[in-house]
Symmetry: C2
Subunit: 429 residues, 2 copies
């Protein structure tokens, strides 16, 4: 048995399989060596851990496809200022003061919150601290795809330095941690940097994480300067492909959606952050999906959300599509659940997001509680009524990371104290 | 000491007072005979219950100003159908089969969910079961304002019968339960019923709970049939005044907002329900507030939300205003917290929603946990990052209703089982 991997048997749960038929089954789940060894009724035999699933829902772990965990210390900081003043006076100057130790503290904090919210994998774009965030993920026992955000259109930054930093940021991947390439956005990167990043990602078979078309301002800027739309510009630079993870993507034309679909990109919808920053656009995820894009979901950072709760994000995604199209059946809850589970796993190239024999063992148990009662429709309950209070147990890569609401991998009180202290220090500096 | 009232001492909490200066204090809270006896540092003396508030936030209880608790058994039922088919094929026929025992089971279930989510008072409009809902509130230990929904523009209903049912529905109020009058809406009530209800409410000094301008269709219908806007029509019928609690109010003109403000109505914003039913309108709560209306918040029923979580509703309220006006500072989190606490209490005419000497003792303790760390801004954390998992203790009317996440007033497992059974029975009937 590999270190940290255990045999776990979940008995008598209601299992939201997310298999091809999207079946809900009643039965047992056997986890062995990091994968799901069996899903059946009445599995016999012994296991190191036996979890009583009676009255509980077993759900594939949620995948948060756009995070900035190193910013978690800035949660609620500078609240109430208009966007530009908030960024210029509060967020950017404070971020500049962040140390590698801060990034590690912030990442552990964010990962605790995500685990408590049923998230088992995340895609991070950070300004610094790639090794510290990777270490935090291994300590917490959560899957992380980590990329260093690159920008050469800022004072003090230049193409060559960014390309070197990119190469240097790629560590040794393992079962939990993957590394990717993250040219920040078409408006913060030169075309050369975009091309260089895309070429490098292609050569090294890495994923490419980027911000696209979050605000009108940036879209109009690209169209003015480049004479093409942002997606066309990125396509020309070689960025758009099956390995691309594009966050936001709200301000788009039908032609751009068709292009994103044709290139099979993964589109990450971040509804709470978009509303909070008042970007004005509601991402047309249904249209992206119909065009062929792989639609996922993310919370964005705690500074612009301010939580890392994928249940809230699923609900908001379903609600906003209904609102956008004035159509109460615009996005069924089952689609939102796909975005947050199996589509996220696909974007990361991992066989997770489903509870079936052979898949990676990333499983969340939800206690029903009053908010999930009655269970007329378990998927509707999960998307519209669940919250982190329902999450009791979390298994990631076959390891029991949270058991009966107790985190097993980290000393939670110590992480909270360290984060609180680091945030106070950062504000003072 | 009155029955059920206890002396409670909360030590060393961070107190969100919601006092006139909106101060956040560190200290102790003494609860005696249902009211807050003292808020100070280092209160000495003994108490029956001593709660350790270290690292916790003490918040005035949240007030959910628009609920349909008797519909809680329909949570997630008929999901995925378009609105009209959902109502006609699923919700209405099933509601018709509801018994008084179902209403009681549903109400207890809803109240458990609300208590677990930090809600200490609610305003209910129901189709039936007023005495059962009142009994459930007394058993659960939650404050409830209960009104029977009246409509005479439906087949089988008539003015005289509705007026008689209205008079009969008014029970004996006590510290927890109040009764009100609820003409359903301008499109389900004749002008005579609206007038009769308003007159009765005035004479008996009762509050008047009504649905207004939720959908375009109803607004256009009133304007076509009555030649005036819905608010003008209601004003003419005597409905608009300081005792009016108007739910939704999304599709309105500036003139109507001015009228609502002038009449000092309480406007209840229900953002999740409006989005879920794809009504298309985002209620301009900032404008209502500026005009003089008392803005509150509600979840609406579990069939159209599908949770009863006021933290989610506060966040959504703040996010949607930013989105509506493309302005990141359109609604500061402190305003959203006011809507959910002190404004709700004002609408109900109770001295709650604040933690100050002399106010009713409706207090919620929140554990910080990773999602509320760091605490750069406690109010921002509560509005944007809190969820029911943070709620550890709930005091209502001086009584400890939940202690360390354990409900003290009801047998929770029995309530859940009864609700699940009743929902299954209802679907079968």
């Amino acid at each position: 048995m590999q270190s940290g991997m255990m045999d776990i048997l979940i008995k008598n749960a209601t299992i939201i399989t997310q298999n091809a038929k999207r079946e809900t089954l009643k039965g047992d789940i056997l986890v062995r060596d990091g994968v799901i060894a069996e899903v059946a009724k009445g599995i016999a035999g012994k296991a190191e851990f036996v979890l009583d699933g009676r009255g509980k829902l077993a759900l594939p772990g949620l995948v948060n496809m756009h995070t900035h965990v190193a910013m978690t210390l800035l949660r609620g900081y500078g609240e109430g200022l208009p966007l530009r003043r908030w960024l210029r006076e509060k967020i950017w100057p404070t971020e500049e003061k962040e140390t590698a130790a801060d990034a590690h503290a912030a990442a552990q904090l964010a990962m605790l919150e995500m685990i408590r919210g049923g998230t088992t994998a995340m895609a991070e774009m950070c300004r610094m601290g790639v090794p510290e965030i990777a270490r935090a993920a291994r300590e917490a026992g959560i899957r992380a795809h980590i990329s260093l955000g690159l920008f050469d259109l800022l004072p003090g930054r230049a193409l060559e330095g960014e390309l070197r930093a990119m190469e240097k940021s790629i560590g040794e991947p393992d079962r939990l941690v993957q590394y990717g390439v993250a040219p920040h956005s078409p408006y913060m990167c030169s075309e050369e940097l975009l091309r260089g990043a895309a070429r490098f990602a292609g050569k090294r078979k890495l994923r490419l994480h980027i911000h696209v078309s979050e605000t009108r301002e940036e879209v109009l800027g690209i169209m003015r300067d480049k004479k093409v739309s942002p997606y066309e510009y990125l396509d020309k630079a070689g960025v758009l492909g099956g390995n691309a993870i594009a966050a936001h993507g709200s301000w788009v034309s039908k032609k751009e959606i068709a292009l994103a679909g044709k290139r099979k990109i993964s589109l990450v919808h971040t509804p709470a952050s978009n509303l909070k920053l008042a970007t004005g656009g509601i991402c047309p995820v249904v249209e992206y999906g119909s065009a062929g894009a792989n639609v996922c979901m993310g919370t964005d950072g705690a500074a612009s959300n301010n939580s890392l709760d994928m249940f809230a994000e699923m609900k908001l995604t379903a609600l906003l599509q209904k609102h956008r199209y004035w159509k109460a059946d615009a996005l069924p809850p089952a689609r939102a659940l796909d975005f947050a589970t199996i589509n996220g796993a696909r974007a990361l190239g991992i066989d997770s997001g489903r509870i079936e024999k052979g898949a990676l063992a990333d499983i969340v148990l939800l206690e029903r509680g009053p908010n999930l009662t009655p269970c007329n429709d378990p998927v509707s309950n999960i998307v519209y009524a669940a919250n982190p209070s329902n999450v009791t147990d979390v298994i990631i890569d076959g390891k029991l990371v949270m058991e009966g609401r107790r985190i097993r991998t980290l000393d939670e009180a110590a992480v909270l104290q360290r984060a609180e202290d680091a945030a106070r220090e950062m504000r003072r500096r």
